[in-house]
Symmetry: C2
Subunit: 460 residues, 2 copies
C-alpha cells in the first residue's frame, strides 16, 4: 500500500476507536514532532490521545497490523529528540491518561497514569507528608521521565527514576499488557523488567501506568551558597562532603559565566566565580549540622563567603539564581537558542573534564554556560547559538562532540539523564560497544517489526 | 553423542585449557550441587575453576559447542537451589577470580572479580573510610549476590545489589564479552543491561567483574532494641519511623518464638515478645537524635523497655541476639534442618501477612521462627523440619506455599532477596503472569540454546 493510503486507512480505524481523539492536523502534528532540544523536528503522521490502557492496546494492535511506527509522548520536554517521529507513524500523546490512581501513605508509594506530571503529583501529595523528588527542571510526565530515566537536582540524595520507579504497566508491540512487578519495595523475582523499560525511551513498549516511590517531606530544609576560587576547589569540596557521608539533598555547580548570567538576569551580585548551591534535608538539628560541616569543608578549600539560610524566603532567594539558569543564559545573547548538552563522569574526573571543556569553549569563541549536578558528576553546557548561522552551529556541534568523547575517555557516559534519543546514537556505540548489540537483540525479541519508536537509541 | 562421551570429551578439552583446574571428582561435584537450601542436590558433571575472563570465554565457547549447561557458582550460599545443576553440565566455580582490581576512594566505588566475598572486600577497605553495605548474612561473593539480587539487613538504608552494582563485565552464551556500563554514578545511555544481569541468576551470562558502589563508614553507629506487645504495634512503629524520614540503617523484627530461641541460645533474658532491633548511622549528634525519636515512636506504640547503646561493645551485645538467629533456631530442635523461606510485601500489609502466617504455623504444629527485614516488608520463616520425615516436610511445604500465595494476594513478591532459583518458579508465574513470557523472550534472544543455568527462574 502507498504510505499515504496506509496512514489514511489507519487513521480511519483509529477514529472508529477513539472518535475525534485522533488527528492529522498540521499544527498538532508539528507540536508533537519537536521536543525542547536543538534537533530537527520530525512530525508524526497522526496524533492519538488514548484514555485507557485498553485503548492503547487497540491502538498498538492497529499500528502493528499496519507496520506503522508508534511514538509515545508525554509533554515533549525531552532534550535529545526522543519523541521525534523520524520514521513518521502515530504519536501516542499520553496527556489524557493523567489520573493519580492511588496514594499509599503507609507504603510511601503511588500508582499513576503516565501522563501525570511531577508538579501535578506533588500538588496532589500536598498534606500527605510525602513528595516525589525527581525534578528535571521541566514539568515532565512520570511516563516520560521513566522512559528517559530522568533525574535532576535531587538525584544525589533520592536517586533517579531508576531507583524511584517500583513497577510499570506496559503495552508491548504485539498488544500484550504486562505488569513488571508487584508493589513490594524489593524483590528478587526474575529479570528486572521494571529497569528494562525505565530508560528504554518507548522503544520496547508503551508505559501505561507507573508505580512510584514517594519520600517523606523533610521536617526542615536549609540551603547554602558558596563561591570558590576555581572549579577544582569546588569539586574537592563536593567529593569530601560525599566521602564524609553528609547526606546533602542537592549540590549544584554554576561556573563563572553562568554566575555572570544569573547576576545580570536576576540583578544579583554574586562573585563571578564557580559557585556551589547546596540544599540540606532532615530534622532541624540535622540540617544545621550538615550546613555547618559543609561550610567547614568549603572554607578549607578556599570557599569564602559561605552563606546559609534556613527560612523559606531566604532559601528561595539563595536558590533563585540556580532556578533560572536557562533564561539567564539566554539573556546573555538575545535571539539565540540554547543547545543543551549532557555528560556524566566519575566525580574524581569532573574537574578535569569541566576545565578541559572550558578551555575548548574559550577557543570556540562561543558563549557557553556550565551548570552541573555535581554530586553525581553530571553536567550540562548551555551553548548559545544563532539558529540561523550554520557555521556557528557546526562549531557548537564540534564543541559538544569533543565534550562527549572526553567524558567517555574519563570513564563517563554520553548521557547522564537526557537519554540517547536521536542525538547520542553514535556516542552510545562508542561508549558501550558490543553491549549495544545486546540491546538490539533484546529490542528484536520484543519488537521484531521495529515499530516502537524506531530510529532511537540505535539505528534501526 | 552419548551424554557420558560428550562430557568426557568436553572435560578433556577443558583440561587442555586450564590443566588441573577442571575436575569430575565426586566430592567436589557434590559440594557444587548443593547450596544452603532444603532443595535436593544436583551435582554438575564437572567443575572448572577459571582465573581470567579470557578463560571464561574459552570455557563458555567449549560448552556452547557441546550444548552443555553452564552453572556459575560463587561460594554456594544461595537459598533456592540457584546453583543446582538440574540439567548436569559444567559448574564454573568463580572462587579463584577473587582479586580486588581497584578501589576509587574519591568516587566511592570499586572494581572486583566476581569471586571476591563481601567480608574480603570490607577487610580490604579497612582504613579507606569506605565500606560495602550489602550483608545477606552469609559471606557470599559479589558475583553471587549480584546474580541473585541479594540484599539483607541494611537494604532499608543502602539499597540492594540492584542499587549497589554500578556495572558488570559479562561473558554471554556465545562467548562475547560486554561491559554493561561505564563508571559514572548515573547514566541514561540505553537499556539498563546492568540491572538486566543483576538478578538473572546466571541464566543470561557469566559475571566476570563487578563495579560496586561503596559508602562512607558512618562517623557514629548506635543500636537499639525494643519489645512490643504485638506485631502490629511493632510494625506501626516501623511505618511511622520511615514516614518521618528517620534514616535508620537497619530495622529487624524477631517474633516471640525467635526471641525465645535467642534467649535460650545466648542465655539472654529478653521478653518473649515481638522485638525490633535498630541500627542508626550518622554523626554523633544524628544517631543520638534518631534513636531518641524512634524511642518516642516506640513508646507511643506500647514499646516498653527501649534500650539504646552507642558504645561498640554495648551495640554488639544488643545485636548479638539478631546475629545468631539461624543457630538459635536450630537449637530449639536439635537434629532438625531449617527450611528458610522469603517473601516481601508492602509494609502496610506486613502485620496482616505475618499474623496470618503465625496462625498457619500454630495450626501446623511445626516449630517455626519469624525474622524479618521489616523496613522493607521482607520476612523469612525458619521452619525446623526433620529431614527424614516426609510427612513433616510436606506440612512445611504447605505452610511455605500458603505464605507465598498470601504474600502475592497482598501485592507482595514470592522472593524479596533469595531469588527464584528452582524453588520459586511456579510462584513467579503466579506473581507476574505474562511478564514471565517476556523474560523468556529475553532469555531466548541471548541464550537461544538454553545453556546458561537451565531450569532456573522459569522451566526450560
Amino acid at each position: 500500500m502507498e504510505p499515504g493510503l496506509a496512514i489514511d486507512r489507519l487513521v480511519s480505524q483509529l477514529s472508529a476507536l477513539v472518535g475525534d481523539r485522533v488527528t492529522t492536523s498540521a499544527p498538532i502534528r508539528q507540536r508533537h514532532g519537536q521536543d525542547e532540544s536543538y534537533h530537527a523536528p520530525h512530525p508524526p503522521d497522526a496524533v492519538v490521545f488514548p484514555r485507557t490502557t485498553d485503548e492503547v492496546v487497540q491502538i498498538v494492535r492497529l499500528c502493528a497490523a499496519a507496520r506503522m511506527p508508534i511514538v509515545p509522548f508525554g509533554v515533549g520536554t525531552s532534550l535529545e529528540g526522543n519523541i521525534a517521529a523520524v520514521r513518521g507513524g502515530v504519536c501516542l500523546d499520553m496527556g489524557q491518561m493523567n489520573r493519580i490512581v492511588e496514594v499509599n501513605r503507609e507504603d510511601l508509594d503511588c500508582r499513576v497514569q503516565p501522563g501525570v506530571t511531577r508538579k501535578q503529583l506533588n500538588r496532589e501529595l500536598n498534606g500527605t507528608g510525602l513528595f516525589f523528588p525527581i525534578d528535571p527542571g521541566a514539568d515532565a510526565t512520570l511516563g516520560g521521565m521513566a522512559s528517559t530515566r530522568g533525574s535532576g537536582t535531587m538525584a544525589v540524595r533520592y536517586g533517579t527514576m531508576r531507583e524511584n520507579v517500583l513497577g510499570l504497566e506496559v503495552v508491548l508491540a504485539d498488544g500484550r499488557v504486562i505488569r513488571t512487578s508487584r508493589r513490594a519495595r524489593k524483590s528478587a523475582a526474575g529479570y528486572d523488567l521494571t529497569r528494562l523499560f525505565v530508560g528504554a525511551e518507548g522503544t520496547l513498549g508503551v508505559i501505561t501506568e507507573v508505580t512510584a516511590r514517594l519520600h517523606p517531606v523533610p521536617e526542615a530544609i536549609s540551603a547554602a551558597v558558596c563561591p570558590f576560587p576555581g572549579l577544582e576547589a569546588a569539586i574537592e569540596t563536593v567529593i569530601l562532603t560525599i566521602q564524609m557521608g553528609i547526606p546533602v539533598a542537592r549540590i549544584e555547580i554554576l561556573d563563572e559565566v553562568m554566575m555572570e548570567a544569573v547576576n545580570r538576569h536576576s540583578k544579583l551580585d554574586y562573585p563571578r566565580q564557580p559557585t556551589l548551591f547546596f540544599e540540606f534535608h532532615g530534622s532541624e538539628a540535622a540540617v544545621a549540622e550538615q550546613a555547618q560541616r559543609v561550610g567547614e569543608i568549603a572554607r578549607e578549600h578556599g570557599g569564602a563567603g559561605f552563606r546559609w539560610a534556613a527560612r523559606p524566603e531566604d532559601r528561595s532567594r539563595l536558590w533563585h539564581a540556580r532556578d533560572n539558569t536557562l533564561y539567564a543564559a539566554l539573556g546573555l545573547r538575545p535571539g539565540a537558542r540554547a543547545m543543551i548538552t549532557d555528560v556524566c563522569v566519575p566525580i574524581s574526573r569532573l574537574a578535569e573534564c569541566m576545565l578541559a571543556t572550558r578551555a575548548d569553549i574559550d577557543r570556540s569563541g562561543l558563549t557557553v554556560c556550565i551548570v552541573g549536578h555535581v554530586g553525581d558528576g553530571n553536567f550540562h553546557l548551555l551553548i548559545l547559538v544563532d539558529p540561523n548561522d550554520p557555521e556557528e552551529i557546526a562549531r557548537a556541534t564540534d564543541l559538544h562532540d569533543a565534550m562527549v568523547m572526553r567524558a567517555l575517555a574519563l570513564q563517563g557516559t554520553c548521557t547522564g539523564e537526557h537519554g540517547v534519543g536521536m542525538g547520542k546514537m553514535g556516542f552510545l556505540q562508542a561508549e558501550l560497544g558490543e553491549a549495544v548489540s545486546v540491546m538490539r537483540q533484546v529490542k528484536r525479541s520484543l519488537d521484531p517489526d521495529g515499530i516502537m519508536n524506531p530510529g532511537k537509541i540505535f539505528a534501526d
